[in-house]
């Protein structure tokens, strides 16, 4: 990656931006703050200078290490080590309080022949598909918030971001009241139009959709903030030029703005899919006890929770976690492969 970006900057010395915004950022970070604004000139002059510039980071690598160190150690202790441990546990029988014996692939064999896994995968897939609708929604909200001369923009942004920082348990209580079949706000609203709602969270046909809507709502603020940052990078002159050429606002948004913020869209979709595949807390707190619709909303992570903390079978729980990890890996690699077709780093 770093080699490639250096190469890219050398290949097109006169237009540093051509190597992409992300690479550009990496480059200037490696050169250090002071060198950043001189970089285009240097890169433009000759290659020896460029090499010199590339050498400097070698010295500051120790500095980089020092800064990355605390995070790196935390990452190793809290993420990498548990992940390795989990991988090991997935090949063992492990009781509620540890103490494991090697069983090879047995956990995986049992898991793959368990119909509950198929159901959970289907539920998770449906949830993920629905929650992807949150991306265009966030884009539209961000675009509206980015309107020139909008009054009280800060207030709107705060309002949209509020759900992101609200406790999931509180979110669940409020939404449970909204979805209540007898006294819910939603059904009262529908009643105004003569429509009859259902008991949204206990009806197997609506429960998963109802939860996904809350998921979209809760994540909207975060996505809006990312898109707003992307929108600020769209040069106003370009849009003005297009306007003069007769492009309407919708056309400008679809053909100019979206391609220009496609890196943000890519980032948000990758994160959304990972987050959706891992959904658990919303299901756990929204459904409550004794809910007859439970079979139609149990997700993969819910299955993991049941295996690990209800059935005290940590080996199977670890196997579920790894199946999920592989799934997420595949989805993410696919997205990275497809991004070349639609993401423009310009």
């Amino acid at each position: 990656m770093s080699q490639a970006s250096i190469q890219a900057s050398l290949d097109s010395p006169l237009s540093p931006a051509a190597s992409g915004t992300a690479d550009g950022a990496l480059r200037s970070a490696r050169r250090g703050g002071g060198a950043a604004h001189r970089a285009p000139l240097k890169a433009g002059s000759a290659s020896p200078n460029g090499r010199k510039g590339a050498k400097a980071p070698g010295q500051s690598a120790w500095w980089a290490l020092l800064f990355v160190g605390p995070t790196g150690i935390g990452l190793a202790i809290f993420y990498l080590w548990p992940a390795l441990r989990t991988f090991y546990l997935s090949f063992t029988h492990t009781g509620a309080f540890g103490g494991s014996s090697w069983v090879g692939l047995e956990n995986y064999q049992k898991l793959l022949s368990n119909p509950a896994l198929g159901q959970a995968l289907a539920n998770t897939a449906i949830y993920t598909l629905i929650s992807l609708l949150g991306i265009p929604l966030a884009m539209v909200v961000a675009a509206l918030l980015n309107t020139k001369g909008l009054k009280g923009r800060g207030i709107y942004r705060t309002l949209y971001f509020l759900p992101v920082v609200t406790m999931p348990a509180a979110v669940a209580i409020v939404w449970r009241m909204i979805y209540n079949g007898d006294y819910g706000v939603l059904n009262q609203f529908l009643g105004l139009f003569g429509a009859h709602g259902t008991s949204w969270l206990t009806n197997p046909n609506t429960a998963l959709v109802a939860i996904a809507v809350v998921g979209i709502w809760a994540g909207l603020g975060q996505n809006v903030v990312i898109f707003l940052a992307g929108l600020q990078g769209v040069p106003a002159e370009m849009l003005e030029a297009a306007e003069l050429d007769g492009a309407g606002p919708v056309r400008r948004f679809i053909h100019m703005v979206i391609p220009m913020i496609s890196p943000s869209v890519f980032f948000v979709s990758v994160m959304s899919i990972i987050g959706s595949l891992q959904v658990f807390d919303l299901v756990f707190v929204m459904m409550g006890q004794n809910n007859p619709a439970m079979p139609s909303v149990k997700t993969v992570v819910y299955l993991f929770y049941e295996a690990g903390f209800i059935n005290h079978d940590q080996g199977t729980a670890a196997a579920i976690a790894f199946v999920l990890l592989i799934l997420i890996l595949v989805m993410t690699v696919l997205q990275f492969a497809m991004q070349k077709k639609w993401v423009h780093y310009e």
Binding site: N203, Q289, N290, M294
Partner: protein, 413 residues
């Protein structure tokens, strides 16, 4: 460059100070009568009473300190299991019947025999609940029985007497159902409803030796069908309505006239908007009697505690006479220590709470086995389906019985 250096230095210092913090918290001594022990509980309502108990214990044991850790019930067991497997569990903690078998059989708890705890001071169904391999591991802290709570005003308005049998219950519930008020909340709560009615029909959820499931029996079906009859004829809210709005909340809002409820709900009831309109009566009688399930918590000591002697001493103390009186006065739960229960009855003189104490006689033990939480999950999966489709009760209970039996067979291998 200078600025970078300063920043790096301050980060390094911060890191040092953090490690210093974490290193300083462990204070070890071999396990005598001094030191700080942690006490894990899950009920916010009971925290004041637990704090008082900790204080009186500290006063009687100079050098001892008790730190209370409150974790909401929904996260208590996951947190405890994780902490215990990491060797960082609390020294003393609340334990319940469903989880006890697992913790005792996996060697996580210390027997309390040598603490001077006398079994004779507690109801035998509770000491039995916390005995494993002939040793007592839990000091019974409190207990709860189930009784019929009813809304006097609604009964009077409908001209209905307090029902004493299943048949009277069914006709009363029908008469009480008018407008948006339902007669009886026939929820699929296990402790409050299902286990009790199965016993009242002459059945059992699990055999006395904890080896056979009783869910497939005709008696279990009879008990469950009794509960479902209220849903079928519309005198109970539906299963879905009782998920959306919990039965006890509907009762406290005056939307339900009668409910079977455990004694720990008495205090919340006494603080609700219907507080002045309600009272309590014995459970109505089924074909085999009016049994209530009895369940209670215990204080247990972590076998790996660094202050094991102190931990065991506190576990026994927190269930002792003095502590039980402190608990009873707050009205939160019925203390397990014999002779201290009257204080609980007197804590809410407006209700006939003696009913809950009388229910101890003839009560049936809460069904447990070593791996109880595994078949708890089967119940949580199966019962809501049966409640949503009452016509599937027979097949559903047979299946639940077979699934539970498979778990029991595996656990007895």
């Amino acid at each position: 460059m200078k600025r970078q250096l300063a920043a790096a230095a301050s980060i390094a210092v911060l890191g040092l100070s953090l490690t210093a913090c974490s290193g300083g918290s462990s204070s070890g001594d071999g396990g005598g009568d001094t030191g700080t022990i942690t006490y894990a509980i899950w009920d916010e309502n009971q925290k004041p009473a637990m704090e008082q108990i900790a204080q009186t214990f500290e006063a009687e044991n100079p050098g001892a300190k008790v730190e209370i850790q409150l974790t909401p019930n929904s996260q208590y067991w996951t947190k405890l299991q994780t902490a215990m497997s990491g060797g960082n569990g609390p020294d003393v903690m609340w334990m319940n019947g469903p989880q006890f078998g697992l913790y005792a059989s996996e060697g996580q708890l210390a027997p309390l025999e040598d603490t001077g705890l006398d079994k004779a001071n507690y109801p035998s169904s509770l000491t039995d609940l916390y005995t494993f391999d002939g040793k007592l591991y839990g000091a019974p802290k409190d207990f709860d029985t189930v009784a019929l709570w009813y809304n006097k005003d609604l009964l009077k308005k409908a001209g209905v007497d307090v029902p004493t049998t299943w048949a009277e219950m069914q006709s009363a519930a029908k008469k009480l159902t008018t407008g948006d008020v339902k007669g009886f909340a026939a929820a699929n709560y296990t402790q409050e409803n299902v286990y009790d009615v199965i016993a009242q029909a002459g059945g059992e959820v699990i055999s006395a030796d904890h080896k056979t499931s009783g869910y497939g029996s005709p008696q279990a079906l009879e008990g469950v069908n009794y509960l479902l009859s209220f849903i079928k004829d519309g005198s109970s809210p539906t299963a879905q309505q009782m998920v959306d709005t919990l039965p006890e909340d509907q009762f406290m809002a005056g939307k339900v006239a009668m409910i079977y409820m455990a004694s720990y709900e008495a205090l919340p009831f006494s603080q609700s908007s219907v507080a002045k309109s309600i009272d309590v009566a014995p459970l109505p009688e089924g074909p085999a009697g009016n049994q209530s399930v009895i369940h209670g918590l215990a204080n247990v000591a972590n076998a790996k505690s660094k202050h094991l002697t102190l931990a065991k001493k506190f576990a026994a103390y927190a269930s002792g006479e003095e502590a039980s009186k402190l608990q009873a006065d707050t009205g939160t739960v019925i203390p397990a220590y014999n002779g201290t229960q009257d204080a609980w009855v007197k804590s809410m003189p407006q209700y006939d709470l003696q009913v809950h104490l009388d229910a101890v006689d003839g009560s049936v033990p809460y069904p447990i086995s070593l791996r109880r939480s595994e078949w708890s999950q089967l119940e949580k999966d199966a019962l809501p389906q049966i409640w949503a489709k009452p016509e599937t009760a027979e097949a559903g209970l047979k299946q639940l019985g077979a699934d539970m039996q498979a778990k029991l067979d595996a656990e007895n291998e």
